[in-house]
């Protein structure tokens, strides 16, 4: 299995952000995208692309625990793959995926920089499995450090 390697190429300590503050969704996505840009994961076109896509195809998800969002965009804007995790200090409003009408209060963002979905699907599936585990999402929400956050994620995704 190559899952372990794939996993480690997607989760990085430098992509875990805690206590993130933003007034609105666009400001948040712009800030998070600039983090990915400065660390070499995406091109500078990523921010606009991800913001535009979120308007047409929103990615907020209501789960049994903490509401999350999985913003992402086309592979052409991605340099190398990674998942940025942003734990928000205050919820930010996203539209609900699939219906595009409901406002939901998102507390954790998983900003996906994906360029080869065929090879990254294993990790993505496991990431989505976390969304059906209320206890794990709450643990993530209350994680106090980058290390703690990664430990929780690695346990689920490894």
């Amino acid at each position: 299995m190559t899952m372990a390697t794939t996993n480690h190429t997607l989760l990085h300590p430098e992509l875990v952000l805690l206590d993130v503050m933003a007034f609105n969704q666009e400001e948040l996505l712009r800030e998070l995208s600039s983090q990915l840009l400065s660390k070499g994961y995406v091109k500078d076109s990523f921010a606009d692309a991800v913001i535009a896509r979120e308007k047409t195809f929103p990615t907020g998800l209501v789960t049994s625990g903490v509401c999350v969002a999985i913003p992402h965009t086309d592979a052409i804007h991605v340099v190398k793959p990674g998942i940025l995790i942003a734990n928000l200090r205050e919820p930010v409003i996203f539209k609900e995926m699939g219906n595009g009408v409901n406002d939901i209060k998102v507390e954790i963002i998983f900003l996906l920089a994906i360029n080869k979905p065929e090879s990254q699907i294993g990790v993505l599936k496991k990431l989505m499995n976390i969304f059906s585990k209320a206890d794990v999402l709450l643990e993530l929400k209350h994680a106090k450090s980058v290390l703690e956050t990664l430990e929780i994620l690695n346990q689920e995704i490894a």
Partner: protein
Amino acid sequence: MKKIIVACGSGVATSQTVASKVKDLCEKKGLRVQVEAINIRNLEAHIKNCDMYISITPYEKKDYGVPVVSGIPFLTGVGLDVAMKQIEEVLRK
């Protein structure tokens, strides 16, 4: 073999993930099915050649000619049993 299509805005992350999950769950139930992730821009072309459409984007409530089910439960687990039941019904026909 029956065919299900899953469409999302980019055909990159979510549709492929949902497609793969649906396939896994069907296999667990012993249901053979082809599940294909597509870009929503190509929906018109693909929908003619499938038995079911799983939607994870806001969609028009119109007659697609095939049953439509929401794919969100495959991402959140909320309402998963109901969604699987709908898929199973189509596949066992």
